[in-house]
Amino acid sequence: MSVYMPLDCDGFAAALADYLEGDAPDAVRAAVEAHAEECAECGALLADLQAIPVQAAALPALTPSRDLWSGIAERIDARVLPLERPAARTIVPARRSWARPAVAAAALVVATAGITYVATRARYEEMPAATASLPARSTAPESVTSPRQQVAVVTPPPSQSGGNGSGTTMGQPGAQRTVEKTPAAVAPLGRSPSGTAQLVRRETRRGDADSVMSATEPLYDREILKLRTIMKSRRSMLDPKTVAVLEQSIAVIDSAIAQSRSALAKDPASGFLANQLNHSLEKKVELLRTAAMLPART
């Protein structure tokens, strides 16, 4: 910017921004003030531009049209708490964009595995009376192979899987895999305000699957209902694409929950199935909590 002194109106206009910001050299400041005194129009402009910030700083506070606290309190109640990671856990899920669908898919897989488990009646950790109910078949478990309560899980032929075909992810028919059964592994649940996770762990150690579910399902149901209500009220605030992804993930988890419940109804004593159901419920709560805490339209 070139400023020639004394200033004309164009020179005044060119120097005005720096003058108002206090960035103009002394000579320019003096020239601006001199021109403002000589030229009524430019003098009025300077006075107005100096008055605007004064008025702006004095603007009154604005008040929302409604009390916003109830909405805040709901979301605070549903805040996402960091999940406790079981000490023995060796696989740490990566926090990437595909993590959520992957978790949901994993829930579906474990539920399918649970159904497979029921279909084969592979209750090797149970008493002999339980094995009497096993169907006579050549793919019966071979043995308990470890002092750490290892359970042999045999994937049945497709005709016996009772699943939706995804049982093939467990291996070829007749293939065998081994699952460690430890308290940490059967209750990989997080901290929750309602204490659900702690209750599940405590009950699971007792080995009474039925009591686990009767004690924890109402807690989950209440939490899910509450979070669903929040989600419903916030639906319009979220990006439609986000809502679609959330609904899709919830549908996958719901499917896993339904299958686990169905399997558990057939085999109420199975701690494995109870924990799969709890795991799926916990995943649903976690997802809904996360959704409840999402900032609007992100």
């Binding site: 005005l16 921004a17 108002l20 910001e21 960035d23 009025a44 402009l45 107005d48 531009l49 008055a51 605007i52 910030p53 008025q55 702006a56 700083a57 603007l59 506070a61 604005l62 008040t63 929302p64 049209s65 409604r66 916003l68 606290w69 909405g71 805040i72 309190a73 979301r75 605070i76 805040r79 605030m237 990006d239 805490m293 900032p295 609007a296 339209r297 992100t298």
Partner: protein
């Protein structure tokens, strides 16, 4: 005898964390204390939100986002600044982040800047009855100029701070501010 003025006893600055017990209580998880903080600060937070985004409904959503985020981050507040200052800076961040997020979903034709603000300028000299108040005139500013004007002239942030928040140079914020003031003057028919 000559009176000698004694220096003020030196005291450590009292952090606002200590000065406002509700902040400490809320940081410890006391929701009632946090609600009191909300009641104390909501109008200022909402005022900033509504002046930045204009849409009152959207501003209310953002105000809620700010307080939820404040609750989440309160344990990180160390009292180096006043709680209100901390909260206010968080408000700016929430509003600007929301703008970035929404910007990704907007077409370039809907993007907010950097027009010349011709919509604000009257096509004829304003008659006295056309005068609008400053609040309404701010609402009609182009978004970029409005943000800088709100942050600088209404909220009192410095150009360097605004430039950092917006990811631009302080020269750019000075230019936007001057433009905003000129447009406001036109609108106010001074």
């Amino acid at each position: 005898m000559t009176a000698v003025a004694l220096p003020e006893p030196m005291t450590a600055p009292t952090p606002s964390y200590v000065a406002d017990p509700d902040v400490a209580l809320a940081a410890a998880g006391d929701r009632r204390a946090f609600e009191r903080l909300y009641r104390q600060h909501v109008t200022r937070v909402f005022s900033l939100c509504v002046r930045m985004v204009i849409d009152r409904t959207r501003a209310e959503e953002l105000t809620q986002d700010v307080f939820v985020r404040a609750w989440e981050k309160l344990h990180l507040f160390r009292g180096e600044s006043a709680f209100g200052t901390w909260l206010h800076r968080m408000t700016v961040n929430v509003v600007l982040n929301a703008r970035k997020s929404e910007g990704r979903n907007r077409s370039r034709f809907e993007d907010d800047d950097e027009g010349d603000g011709v919509d604000l300028l009257p096509s004829r000299p304003l008659a006295p009855g056309d005068r609008m108040d400053l609040e309404a005139a701010i609402a009609k500013l182009p978004p970029g100029a409005r943000r800088v004007f709100t942050l600088h002239d209404v909220e009192g942030y410095k150009h360097e701070e605004i430039a950092e928040m917006l990811g631009v140079t302080s020269g750019a914020t000075k230019a936007q501010l001057h433009r905003a003031r000129l447009l406001l003057r036109e609108a106010l028919n001074r």
